[in-house]
């Protein structure tokens, strides 16, 4: 058995309501929200990454094209044996064929190691290619330190595809293509997304939004080498970084702030709704579960009433079939029970009546034998006394046999007792003395037949012992609504062991009956009158015995 407190049916119904309908719905909704957030964030990340890689591929393709242009120019120079003037037509042909698909042609420049412009496809040349202090600085620095390699160089917001051609005597000339910004920015602006293109050190070449760079024009270091969610100035971005072979880094960003707050608001609203639903359900289930369990309560009450002895309850249920069946069956069962109890009562009364009759008819054979013996003896010495004894005995027998009523008046019983006393008086002569003191006002009360005689028998049986004389007092009176008879003698009394035996028998009505007389009275009172009535005996050795009868007052 568990020690758990057993809940009421109503609470169980209520809990079932909440546990099996509300909680699963809440769980499912929040799981769905969670799932949505997850899928959304994965999608956002994936879309961002895809755009990033697309941009990288596009820019790579453009730069590859420019690399080829620079390479072809070198080939043209080789063909013309480094004669720039002779190669000019070839340069322009290459330039146009490589840039025709773009919005801008850009600028192709051939420079001597001394930064003199040997060829320029278009007027001015950026000063960082020509001025003296740039000799070992910026673009030139990179070309000198990376001989025979085409480099993509970001310098002062311009992108250069540059190649230094080295001969045996060192740097011979440099081919520089100035990438038109619009070509790359077209790629970025084509996509509806924050994007930044930087060189390997994070210097920004192009970007289409503010706030992602530091005050020096480098990409915010939070984005470097970190793909995922980054927070800059209170704004959250999903960022992705990739590198392309030309040495540029592409950063793409999704501003997720608005989406996050929308999701937060939706979640909060749903949470509020659910809290409201929980509160409402809790309240309403209190009422509905009460209604649904009203029949159960009725049944419970009916059972309680039956337990307390009220068999006159009935169940009237019309809310649901199941409970109606239970109610009808209960009513039927209770009806059956009532009939049963009635029958049992009649049966018990019959049994008691029979038993009382049997007890009444018991006539002490010892007494009869002793009396007859005395009559035989008296007939020889005192015929008149013998005659009186015979008359008294026959009166006793008649009363015992002929009187069919269970109850007689006190007066009748005392009249009959006189016969008995007559016999005793003749038997014991001066050794026996008695006083009967019964108040007149109870003489018409009804008592069981042959009530007092056994008390006298008892006194005689235990009282004489070795004693010369025995006095018995019988008192009868009314105390409140009870009729009391007390029979006291001054005999030798009953020893403690016997007395205990008698008392035992009076309590336990089923044991072997030795003290037939007292038991007989007690048993009859118990059978005839329900309640706190019966016989009580006290005795002290050497002082005498007191027997007390308590009966209801009946007229």
């Amino acid at each position: 058995m568990s020690n758990k407190e057993i809940n009421s049916f109503q609470d169980n119904i209520r809990r079932t309501f909440i546990w099996y309908s509300l909680i699963p719905v809440i769980a499912i909704v929040f799981t769905a929200i969670l799932l949505f957030v997850c899928i959304w964030s994965i999608y956002t990340g994936a879309a961002n990454k895809k755009d990033n890689l697309d941009i990288g591929t596009d820019i790579s393709a453009i730069l590859d094209n420019y690399y080829e242009l620079v390479f072809n120019c070198e080939k043209a120079m080789l063909k013309s044996k480094d004669d720039v003037k002779a190669s000019e037509d070839e340069f322009f042909r290459e330039l146009y064929s490589h840039t025709e698909k773009y919005s801008s042609i850009g600028k192709l420049v051939i420079l001597s190691p001394k930064r003199e412009v040997l060829f320029s496809s278009e007027g001015s040349v950026p000063e960082c290619l020509t001025e003296e202090e740039y000799d070992n600085w910026g673009v030139w620095n990179r070309m000198r330190s990376n001989p025979e390699r085409t480099e993509t160089i970001l310098y002062e917001k311009n992108l250069y595809v540059a190649r230094g051609i080295h001969k045996r005597s060192g740097l011979a000339y440099a081919i520089v293509y100035v990438v038109p910004t619009s070509v790359i920015s077209d790629i970025i602006y084509k996509r509806n997304r924050y994007c930044a293109v930087t060189d390997a050190n994070g210097w920004v070449y192009l970007n289409n939004t503010q706030g992602l760079t530091d005050e020096f024009g480098q990409i915010n270091e939070l984005f470097e080498g970190h793909n995922g969610i980054a927070k800059i100035g209170g704004v959250k971005y999903v960022s992705y970084e990739s590198s392309i072979p030309a040495g540029l880094n592409i950063f793409t960003f999704s501003d997720i702030n608005r989406n996050l707050s929308i999701m937060l608001i939706i979640t909060a609203v749903i949470a509020v709704i659910f809290v409201a639903i929980i509160v409402i359900t809790y309240r309403s289930t209190a009422k509905s579960s009460e209604i649904y369990t009203r029949d159960v309560k009725k049944i419970e009450k009916a059972f309680e009433a039956v337990q307390n002895g009220d068999l006159n309850v009935g169940l009237r249920i019309d809310s649901s079939k199941e409970f109606q069946t239970i109610g009808n069956d209960f009513n039927k069962m209770l009806g059956g029970l009532k009939t049963q109890i009635e029958q049992n009562k009649i049966l018990a009364e019959n049994v008691a009546f029979a038993q009382v009759k049997r007890l009444e008819s018991q006539f002490n054979p010892h007494f009869l034998f002793n009396t007859l013996d005395n009559i035989r003896f008296m007939a020889k010495i005192d015929a008149a006394a013998a005659d009186k004894m015979i008359v008294s005995l026959s009166g006793l027998l008649r009363y015992s046999i002929r009187e069919t009523r269970e109850e007689v008046t006190v007066r009748e019983d005392l009249d009959n007792l006189q016969n008995y006393l007559n016999i005793l008086q003749i038997r014991f002569n001066k050794r026996f003395e008695y006083n009967i003191n019964v108040s007149e006002d109870i003489k018409d009360c009804l008592i069981p037949k042959l009530l007092v005689q056994p008390l006298l028998e008892n006194s005689i049986k235990y009282g004489f012992g070795e004693k010369e004389k025995l006095t018995v007092n019988i008192n009868g009176y009314q105390l409140q609504d009870k009729l009391i008879f007390v029979c006291e003698d001054d005999g030798v009394g009953i020893d403690a062991e016997t007395l205990a035996g008698i008392k035992m028998q009076l309590i336990d009505l089923d044991t072997e009956h030795q003290h037939i007389g007292l038991y007989n009275i007690h048993q009859r009172i118990k059978l005839m009158y329900k309640g706190d009535y019966g016989l009580d005996i006290t005795s002290k050795e050497g002082e005498g015995t007191v027997v007390r009868l308590v009966l209801p007052v009946r007229m």
Binding site: T31, L34, V37, E133, D135, E215, F216, G225, G228, V238
Partner: protein
């Protein structure tokens, strides 16, 4: 539903939630990659951004070392270094104003030291001179009108009262430079004699004292002030940005102290920091700085820019570095008292 089933269902639910959380947060929040962040050389500098950008850019592409630059005033930078912040190099700040903090820096002798002018060679173990920075006055040519400004004495003109841009010398090293310059130039070599002038000058400020040196040159360029006490490079930068500015070299005397590059002695990137110092003092860098950024080189082999008056033509005053170093706090509080605690 039995108890066991309930537990299993709950376990599955929790498991799913946890998996989702893990997926979500894996994509999730991030700080910059610790490793890449630590590889960066952290340089703190009072130089203006247009000065910092091309040099850092070139340093990065030449050495492959990434730099994280932080802009802040000299005294704030010193505080950061002394409080053990993660800073590798202090780039900028005059030797005079950094002088007292020599112990905070790593002793290093750059490989370029042999090409330095003699007076820039031996300035202290932790110091490497970077450029020579004379103090100058800058005036807004559009607004100055007929007011003549040739030197410190002219600043006492009542018409300039409240129109002079001067930064708090306790925060800006260029302002402290000017204070020292005044004391030496107006005291005729004895700084104690210069306080008469400083008192009158502080009166001329009319209680206006700026928080940083950038407010000085920007304030004059924007016309908020007519005259500013600043350093040559800042004025040149403004001129290069086509602001209507003129440089005035004070006729009473010009203090020209070098600013430097200093390596934090607690740096975790000593090699990179040394490369940084070498790069900043290299011929190509100094040449670029002189030509493009308006500073005077510390190298003998780099010619001065055409934009600045040659040093030989200036009335140079010398300051005793030990006296300045030991008197710095005293002077600062004395000046602060004159300003009536307005800068407190």
């Amino acid at each position: 539903m039995t108890m066991k089933r309930k537990i299993i269902a709950a376990a599955i639910f929790v498991f799913v939630v946890v998996i989702m959380m893990v997926i979500f947060f894996n994509i999730g929040y991030g700080q910059p990659d610790k490793d890449t962040a630590q590889e960066k050389l952290v340089v703190v500098s009072p130089h203006p951004a247009p000065f910092i950008i091309p040099l850092i850019n070139e340093f990065e592409s030449e050495t492959g070392i990434k730099v994280k630059a932080l802009q802040c005033g000299t005294s704030k930078a010193l505080e950061l270094i002394k409080s053990n912040a993660d800073i590798d190099v202090l780039w900028g700040g005059s030797i005079l104003s950094v002088g007292e903090s020599e112990g905070a820096f790593l002793p290093y002798k750059t490989e370029n030291i042999d090409s330095f002018y003699e007076n820039f060679k031996d300035v202290g173990e932790g110091f490497t001179c970077f450029t020579d920075v004379p103090s100058v006055l800058m005036i807004n040519t559009d607004l100055i009108g007929d007011i003549e400004v040739k030197g410190y004495e002219d600043l006492l003109n009542p018409r300039l009262k409240g129109k002079i841009a001067f930064a708090d010398p306790s925060g800006s090293s260029s302002s402290f430079e000017h204070l020292t310059n005044m004391l030496y130039a107006m005291g005729n070599g004895n700084p104690e004699d210069g306080w008469d002038y400083v008192e009158k000058f502080s009166d001329q400020l009319n209680g206006v004292i700026l928080q940083s040196s950038s407010e000085v040159y920007e304030g004059v360029s924007s016309g908020k002030f007519l005259v500013g006490l600043t350093f040559e490079e800042a004025a040149l930068t403004m001129i290069n940005q086509d602001k209507h500015i003129k440089i005035v070299y004070m006729e009473e005397g010009i203090l020209s102290t070098p600013d430097g590059v200093y390596i934090n002695k607690n740096t975790k990137h000593a090699d990179s920091a040394k490369k940084f110092v070498d790069f900043m003092t290299a011929y190509n860098t100094q040449k670029y700085i002189t030509a493009k950024l308006g500073r005077r080189s510390v190298r003998r082999d780099v010619e001065a820019s055409v934009l600045v008056t040659p040093k030989e033509e200036l009335n140079i005053v010398e300051a005793d570095r030990d006296v300045v170093g030991s008197s710095k706090n005293k002077w600062l509080s004395r000046f602060s008292d004159m300003m009536g605690g307005a800068n407190e």
